[in-house]
């Protein structure tokens, strides 16, 4: 189910938000699936004419008004440096764009309620990036180390007792930890980089699973109070794209069973391990030859991070970056059917921010 907060909780966050994303304006500009081959990365993307989105509803029909007044309009967005307190309506999904990947990650979390909403003081957190292929960051096959590091730091600031980063990727234990730059970034951020040991996979039942009845899950994930999934958005020939839901395969031991009816089986996994927070790294995305990539011509730089408490919504939005809909992605369809969230972006308050 889509996490819902009471009206009172919602209001209590309003005040906070002005601080959390101070210096950041929330707006609904026409940012989305650009048909251009590559973003320049420099200058304000807002200077460009607003492009038509594949799903105009995301922007125009953004129902922020249901609980709070509409966030600052396009005009305010242009004045990007002006703090907009009344823009503080907590969004269901944040899309933040900018060249500083740590800052946009922080802003995205801030826009959906701040890290404290997800990480209680003293909690054990597992941050799950995608470190699957043995590739350097620029190939867009692994989560950007700066996005991972920002999440580690945020959790520490929230008072987490331990922040563990791990992934059991498709090439075996600890492959890519080094090449991806993630191990080094996590260590710099004083997080715990967990080197996978096979002894820690424990068999557990999947009570809500339709096809997956039991799975071997990594012990640290079972022990965690909070799981945060931090995938990179990239192409995958079976699931169409590999995003936040499919990213969770990296906490399991056996990947082969997932390859049949992948959507349902990944959704089954996500009923067992429910990430409380989803951060989709779309700072650069891999358009073709996924999941391993290796060709810079297949990489598109978007300088974007998506955050949501709703894993299905985050994946559905990320799909639009590829010119697809949530409906096109097997994991997203199954995720909605299993009640893990909604792929109907028109029902969401979406904050689009550029910093």
């Amino acid at each position: 189910m889509k996490p819902k907060l009471s009206r009172r909780e919602l209001l209590s966050h309003l005040a906070k938000l002005g601080l959390v994303i101070g210096g950041v304006s929330i707006a609904l500009p026409g940012f989305g699936c650009s048909s251009e081959t590559k973003s320049t990365g420099a200058g304000s993307p807002l200077a460009r004419p607003t492009e038509a989105l594949p799903f105009p509803a995301i922007n125009q029909a953004s129902p922020v008004s249901t609980t709070t007044p509409p966030a600052a309009g396009t005009a305010a967005a242009v004045a990007a440096s002006t703090p907009t307190v009344e823009a503080g309506g907590r969004a269901d999904l944040a899309v933040v764009k900018g060249g500083d990947y740590q800052a946009i990650t922080r802003a995205a979390v801030g826009a959906i309620g701040g890290i404290e909403r997800f990480v209680p003081r003293g909690s054990k957190v597992v941050v799950k990036p995608n470190i699957g292929p043995n590739r350097a960051p620029q190939y867009a096959a692994t989560t950007h180390p700066k996005v991972v590091a920002a999440m580690v730091t945020l959790c520490q600031e929230a008072g987490a007792s331990k922040v563990t980063v791990l992934d059991y990727g498709l090439n075996g234990p600890n492959v890519g930890y080094d090449t991806s730059g993630i191990e080094a970034a996590v260590k710099r951020a004083a997080g715990t980089m967990e080197r996978i040991t096979m002894m820690k996979f424990k068999q557990v039942a999947v009570p809500e699973g339709k096809e997956m009845k039991s799975l071997y899950i990594y012990q640290d994930v079972l022990d965690a109070d909070v799981v945060i999934t931090v995938p990179i958005a990239k192409h995958h020939s079976l699931s169409g794209l590999t995003l936040a839901m499919k990213n969770m395969m990296g906490v399991t031991r056996d990947r082969d069973p997932f390859h049949n009816n992948i959507g349902q089986r990944v959704a089954d996994l996500c009923t067992l391990i429910r990430p409380r927070l989803t951060i989709v790294d779309a700072t650069r995305i891999l358009l073709r030859n996924g999941p391993s990539g290796g060709n810079l011509a297949d990489v598109k730089q978007l300088d974007t991070v998506i955050a949501s408490a709703d894993i299905v919504a985050a994946d559905a939005y990320a799909a639009t970056l590829f010119g697809l809909k949530g409906q096109d992605i097997a994991t997203v369809r199954a995720g909605q059917a299993m009640g893990l969230g909604t792929m109907d972006l028109s029902t969401l308050r979406i904050a689009t921010v550029t910093i």
Partner: protein, 515 residues
């Protein structure tokens, strides 16, 4: 060395055997350290293949077989020169296999055969065969050189067993709840730093174990049996020691008590204690220590009668060696014709087998376990050489370790980017078994795993009717032969029981494509 050590009747306790033991310990320690260092990525101050580079038999036979002098062969010069001065001191002081055999020393007084000296010539025959075969371009017999032999045994037998027992032991502690966090962190930081994360067996482990155990059992029969009768490297040093400057000499105070004769681990001292069998003394200096009279010393002394093969014997060795090697190569060619030996990247050149000394270093460093020693897959001529077996692993895109550790350059030292383009074979889909082709079900694992920037496996869209009667679109894998490098990750990851539905073949003689 001081030529007055222990000379005369001075009753002074000599320290030479202790010095030797320290030397043996350091040498053995370095051998083990380099073995372990080879598993960890480079940046080690000493070349990890140091011992194999120093090995003169590797240098000589490699040069003969490869018909060229490589720079690595020059590393063997120090030991060659040292042997001319110090005789077989390598065997007594440095050889790691000799050290292991010394550790398992059993009391024995009698040599096990009559006509013992004739039997000692066996190792010279073995050396003769090895060198004549090398002249013919065959290095299969190099598998009996003690350094490749020990290296291979450690790779195929010892390391996997140690890794498995460590993993099992730590898992036992972890699941029993005895210091679980400690067990897990030892597993992560110690075991995985040295060994593959997932313990895996090496092919032919039982063959290498049998060879090694045989050597150990023979050591019980007669101490240093291997060094006395079989070792081809020992035989080479034995020949070289002919003009050795320093020799065991016995002073006038010798009273013929025969203590040194009983003590000698090589059985090199003749009855009465005065005579030394030429080419058999390994300068271990135990006799200096043992002698109650202090009569033994190592000093400059005139050459003693030495092994001198008759012309007939020499010709026989040469003849048998040439014919034997020719037969092996003939057999090898015949067997290899019908097989599918995919070689490591950088081993595609024609004279690969003429440079591979079967040390197994590449097999050891292969991070996925793709490289395995062959038995007959590459013919008799290729016995124990590395072949790619996708049942056990695949060629990791970001790895070129095998070429980095090859002591003879049999596997080229390819830069990573060049290795990533190196074609070692090509994958073929078995449409009769493939899930997508034979059963109309979705499975794209081979395509997913293909690491090439431009994937060599493409998915052909096909509309099929599923078991529920509904039409659906699936992807069927097809290999782009112009792109595939044969890394075999597709074969390794294919979810079917072996043999996989996509398999990599050597295409060097494939009329459709050549390497």
């Amino acid at each position: 060395m001081d030529n007055t050590v222990g000379a005369g009747g001075v009753r002074r306790k000599t320290r030479w055997p202790s010095v030797r033991r320290i030397g043996q310990g350091l040498s053995f320690g370095l051998f083990v350290l380099l073995f372990l260092a080879m598993l960890v990525p480079p940046s080690f101050p000493v070349p990890v293949d140091l011992f194999l580079r120093l090995d003169p038999l590797v240098a000589i036979s490699g040069t003969l077989a490869g018909r060229q002098l490589t720079s690595n062969a020059l590393w063997a010069l120090p030991l060659l020169i040292a042997a001319l001065v110090l005789g077989r001191f390598f065997c007594g002081w440095l050889c790691p296999l000799g050290t292991i055999l010394d550790l398992g020393r059993w009391r024995q007084k009698q040599a096990f055969v009559v006509q013992e000296r004739r039997w000692r010539e066996a190792k010279l025959l073995l050396l003769g065969f090895t060198l004549t075969a090398a002249l013919q371009g065959s290095l299969t017999l190099m598998s009996l050189d003690p350094l490749p032999l020990l290296e291979r045994t450690m790779t195929a037998v010892l390391a996997p067993i140690v890794n498995q027992s460590l993993a099992d032991g730590l898992l036992g502690l972890y699941s029993a709840g005895i210091a679980p966090s400690l067990a897990a962190s030892v597993d992560q930081t110690v075991r995985q730093a040295v060994f593959p994360a997932q313990p895996r067996p090496v092919s032919l482990a039982f063959v290498f174990a049998t060879m090694f155990l045989t050597i150990l059992v023979l050591n019980v029969v007669t101490h240093r049996f291997w060094c006395r009768y079989l070792c081809p490297l020992g035989a080479l040093f034995s020949l070289l020691s002919r003009p050795a400057v320093l020799r065991r000499t016995v002073g006038n105070t010798c009273n013929g008590c025969n203590k040194c004769v009983r003590e000698c681990r090589m059985g090199a001292i003749q009855e009465g204690g005065r005579g030394t069998t030429p080419g058999e003394c390994i300068a271990c200096t135990s006799c200096i220590e043992t002698c109650p009279q202090g009569a033994v010393s190592f000093a400059r002394s005139p050459s003693t009668p030495h092994y001198d093969p008759s012309r007939r014997q020499a010709l026989a060795v040469l003849g048998i060696g040439l014919l034997g090697a020719a037969a092996v190569r003939l057999e090898g060619a015949k067997v290899a014709e019908g097989t599918n030996a995919v070689r490591p990247p950088g081993a595609q050149h024609a004279d690969f087998l003429q440079r591979c000394v079967r040390c197994g270093a590449c097999i050891k460093v292969c991070p996925t376990g793709l490289l395995q020693p062959s038995l007959f897959e590459a013919g008799l001529d290729g016995m124990f050489s590395p072949i790619a077996k996708a049942q056990s692993g695949y060629c990791e895109w970001n790895c070129n370790s095998c070429g980095q550790v090859c002591p003879t350059g049999a596997i080229e030292r390819l830069p990573l980017e060049q290795k990533q383009r190196q074609v070692i074979g090509c994958a073929y889909v078995d449409k009769n078994r493939c899930i997508a082709w034979a059963d109309d079900m979705e499975c794209i694992i081979c395509e997913e795993m293909c690491p090439l920037p431009r994937k060599a496996i493409v998915l052909d869209r096909a509309t099929v009717v599923g078991t529920d009667g509904q039409a659906k679109v699936i992807g069927r894998p097809r290999v782009r032969r112009d792109l595939c490098t044969g890394c075999a990750v597709c074969e390794f990851k294919c979810p079917l029981p072996r043999p996989a539905a996509i398999r990599v073949f050597n295409i060097s003689s494939d009329p459709r494509l050549g390497i």
